[in-house]
Symmetry: none
Subunit: 224 residues, 2 copies
DNA sequence: GGGGCCGTGGTACCCGGGTACTACCGTGGC
DNA sequence: GCCACGGTAGTACCCGGGTACCACGGCCCC
């Protein structure tokens, strides 16, 4: 029996998922959550096998909720559902510890089999997302492998979603500049800097600027 | 027949271990202990082959209990179980005379084979901890001897003033841990963490933890 | 015994960082 | 024309980070 927690801010969406899952005799919906905070709390309390996690939710979003759930040490797996197959936050979700991604318009059978696979410990990725996932994986392989060695610095997938400006912001974050310093030296308002920083954190899957700095080093955007 | 004493402050955890061990026909659980004092007393009284020892317990903790048990001269072996893979007490446990340590989220079969190995006189270390253990071991080797060329990074002057504990704190800062996470995973009060962090910042000349992360990368304390 | 150093812990306070939400304006594409 | 997107900017709010203290026990060393 696979136990599931449904986290989605749309009641109708939750209802649909619940109906689908309850129709299966090997699945039980333990509870529902309408935002990330609720999802984290109920996941810790109920220890479901799988959390069906929507990305976009008010308050704590699905990515951060995933990070906290997977960081808790529980066996609970998180299966993220994205609305669009090119969701820029997909990679952030993976880094947050999710066991898979599916798009919301997938076939019901695919969703069900995906939940079973994740509960079993496997990972699932929607076909539309598989390619970029492969790219990310290949990039992290040891260098010796294939013809890709001719590329000096293949763009890290974490940086792929960043705009030029955001990449610039990440660079100076990696230099240790504060928001105030960034604003002054780049002739911007501090509120603008905060907006950029917020987007950089979201797209790179960083919880705060400290993790963004680490990301900057790991991707080679800045170097020791 | 391997006789085991289970020492853990959480009843549910003890129950789980007992169920697992009793399901094996070559193991017997002699008794359980809810704290370190009880563990020492019952170990001396029952002379089990193996004590399954939790690190974190009220009163006398698992490390000190291990020290007393192994110092008693009995042939009882101690197998330490840690919750977090970077538990600093794991090393302390080895120094205290433990025959090994495993992480609590290990596979049941691994735990069983670990107990058998320890009872046989061998030592076991969780794979996730092996690397760190090796690093720690190498780090504590005397400097004078061999191949100094294998040391690519002579100690950076910024790190020279740091105590071992502070260097450890800087390392986990470099991994992006928040003060709260450091406190939880190292079993410290958050105020203590703040004290350490403050001293690290002062000694490394960092304005905030972001610059401390950069310092950690530049000195090679952590690497991309 | 006294005096450091180290690790641990506490309280109180302030500020920067991060989030949620909204808004306006170019530019480029359909 | 309209729309999507990127860059800019603002407000309001909460929380974690950092600081300034102080305190205590264990050590080691003179």
């Amino acid at each position: 029996m696979t136990t599931v927690l449904i986290a989605d801010d749309q009641p109708l969406q939750r209802f649909g998922f619940r109906m689908l899952l309850e129709s299966q005799d090997d699945m039980t919906v333990l509870d529902e959550a309408a935002n990330g905070t609720e999802a984290v709390r109920k996941a810790a309390e109920l220890r479901p096998d799988v959390v069906l996690m929507d990305v976009r939710m008010p308050g704590l979003d699905g990515i951060e909720a995933t990070r906290r759930i997977t960081a808790s040490g529980d066996r609970t797996r998180v299966l993220i559902l994205t609305t669009f197959d090119l969701d820029e936050y997909a990679y952030a979700g993976l880094r947050a510890g999710a066991s898979g991604f599916l798009v919301k318009d997938a076939q019901p059978e695919d969703l069900l089999s995906g939940i079973r696979a994740v509960a079993f410990g496997d990972a699932v990725v929607a076909p539309a997302l598989t390619r970029r996932l492969l790219d990310a994986y290949v990039h992290h392989l040891p260098v010796g492998g294939s013809a890709s060695s001719s590329m000096p610095s293949p763009p890290d997938p974490r940086l792929a979603a960043l705009t030029d400006r955001e990449r610039e912001i990440l660079t100076v974050i990696g230099k240790g500049w504060t928001n105030t310093e960034i604003a002054a030296r780049l002739h911007l308002a501090e509120s603008t800097v905060k907006t950029h920083v917020g987007r950089v954190l979201a797209k790179t899957g960083s919880r705060d600027r400290v993790q963004a700095v680490i990301c900057a080093y790991e991707t080679g955007l800045v170097q020791p």
